[in-house]
């Protein structure tokens, strides 16, 4: 582990120095294996947060009574060693080599692989129009907020839309509710553009977003999903 960075009170990014890393694609994940002194092991999957060519980073959200995430968020520090395996997955990926509009919808830590795609877009200088819709509980819980706003701020066809589901700061101008078909209708590319869609988060979040997009006339085949489990 070469660096750790707090993203929010419950979320931390861990940079990993992986010898012989074969390179990865935006959206892929890796498996982290922890080993206790007596040989007991636990292994979990984490999306790769960094763009291809940027080194390897993961961003982990602490689940209160979880086994692995509290260790990674609270305990692990620079110089610690963990085993990783990857990159894994060849479907929930975006390479940035075509101009099809892209809609990214992330709930909580579900934004991690989507941010890798946004970074990839900037890295390769893609001009594919890309919108990222992020749902977080509060403004403090928004992961990568400054970085994403900066990417959006340079005005090259990348846009970030936030919704805060639990509480909003004074003067908040973004959305203030869970993702629903109305909100999606506001934000999503019109169906005739047949966008590529990546939805990531807890199972409930992913189902709500994907079902909402189907109601807008999206074709199920455009929508790729990654479900993190009970997170969030």
């Amino acid at each position: 582990m070469s660096a750790v960075k707090a993203e929010t009170p419950r979320v931390r990014t861990l940079e990993l120095e992986v010898p012989n890393w074969a390179g990865h694609r935006a959206g892929q994940h890796l498996d982290v294996r922890l080993t206790a002194e007596d040989g007991y092991q636990a292994e979990r999957s984490y999306s790769i947060a960094s763009a291809p060519g940027e080194g390897v980073a993961i961003t982990v959200e602490r689940l209160g009574d979880g086994e692995v995430s509290p260790y990674l968020v609270d305990e692990a520090r620079e110089g610690d060693r963990v085993e990783v395996r990857g990159p894994i997955g060849g479907y929930f990926v975006w390479d940035g080599d075509d101009l099809q509009p892209v809609l990214l919808v992330g709930g909580g830590s579900g934004v991690v692989p989507l941010a890798a795609m946004a970074r990839q877009r900037a890295q390769v200088g893609s001009t594919a129009p890309m919108k990222l819709l992020v749902s977080s509980r509060t403004i403090e819980d928004v992961i990568y907020r400054d970085e994403l706003d900066a990417l959006a701020g340079n005005g090259f066809g990348f846009e970030v839309v936030h919704t805060l589901t639990r509480s909003q700061p004074p003067g908040w101008t973004g959305y203030s509710r869970r993702i629903d078909p109305g909100l999606l209708a506001d934000v999503a590319w019109p169906a005739p553009e047949s966008p590529r869609v990546y939805v990531c988060g807890s199972t409930r979040f992913v189902d709500a977003a994907a079902d909402g997009l189907l109601q807008l006339g999206y074709d199920a085949r455009w929508i790729r999903t990654e479900r993190f489990g009970a997170t969030g």
């Binding site: 922890l34 002194e37 007991y40 260790y71 060693r81 479907y91 199972t203 189902d207 199920a220 479900r227």
Partner: protein, 198 residues
């Protein structure tokens, strides 16, 4: 072995003869799917066996009329959760294959949503696989693969294809959806056949 400084773990690992290596127990029923959850009306639903001289199909009612088996099995997802003693009802794949003439070695299960998964016929026969339509005594939820999913509990759970609509019997193994996207061709949890190269 690399010891992770300060890691103790919670050790919910359960009976070692029932929890395969690298898995942990959960009481939830997490979901793994690549796209939105399809919702096919039962009156449009069929289950078909292709890849034989005379393909055979069943409507929802015809499937329900076949002998129903109740099985209690442990299931193991490649995303590392395992769940013990899950109760399912459905029709055994042996029973379905009885109605076609075939000597195929492999099958490709196909599903609503375009998902496919490949299995050796050996893994589908001998009382090891079902087309399941009920879970825990209730109709199977769409998010868990309803109206019906394949149930092949001795392999990682992605082989238990959700929203299954039939089998194509084949002489050769053809990788399905996850198998084309980095996951193992067979997926035996006891051998930790998770990914390509395992």
């Amino acid at each position: 072995m690399i010891v992770s400084r300060g890691f103790r773990g919670r050790r919910r690992d359960g009976p070692p003869d029932r929890v395969p290596p690298g898995q942990y127990l959960t009481d939830d029923f997490p979901v793994l799917s690549a796209g939105p959850t399809p919702h096919t009306p039962l009156d449009e639903w069929t289950f078909t066996i292709h890849g034989v001289d005379e393909p055979k199909g069943w409507t929802w009612e015809e499937l329900q009329a076949l002998p129903r088996e109740t099985v209690t099995v442990d299931i193991h997802c490649v995303t590392r959760w395992s769940k013990l003693d899950t109760v399912w009802e459905g029709v055994s794949v042996d029973r379905l294959l009885e109605e076609v003439e075939h000597d195929a070695a492999y099958a490709l299960a196909f599903c609503d949503g375009g998902y496919t998964t490949n299995l050796p016929v050996e893994d589908l026969t001998g009382g090891k696989a079902w087309v399941a339509y009920s879970y825990g005594g209730e109709p199977l939820d769409p998010e868990h693969g309803g109206p019906a999913r394949l149930l092949v509990p001795h392999l990682y759970f992605w082989k238990s294809a959700k929203w299954v609509r039939g089998l194509t019997l084949r002489d050769e193994d053809e990788p399905g959806f996850w198998e084309t996207n980095g996951y193992h061709l067979r997926g035996d949890p006891w051998l930790e056949q998770r990914y390509w190269g395992d």
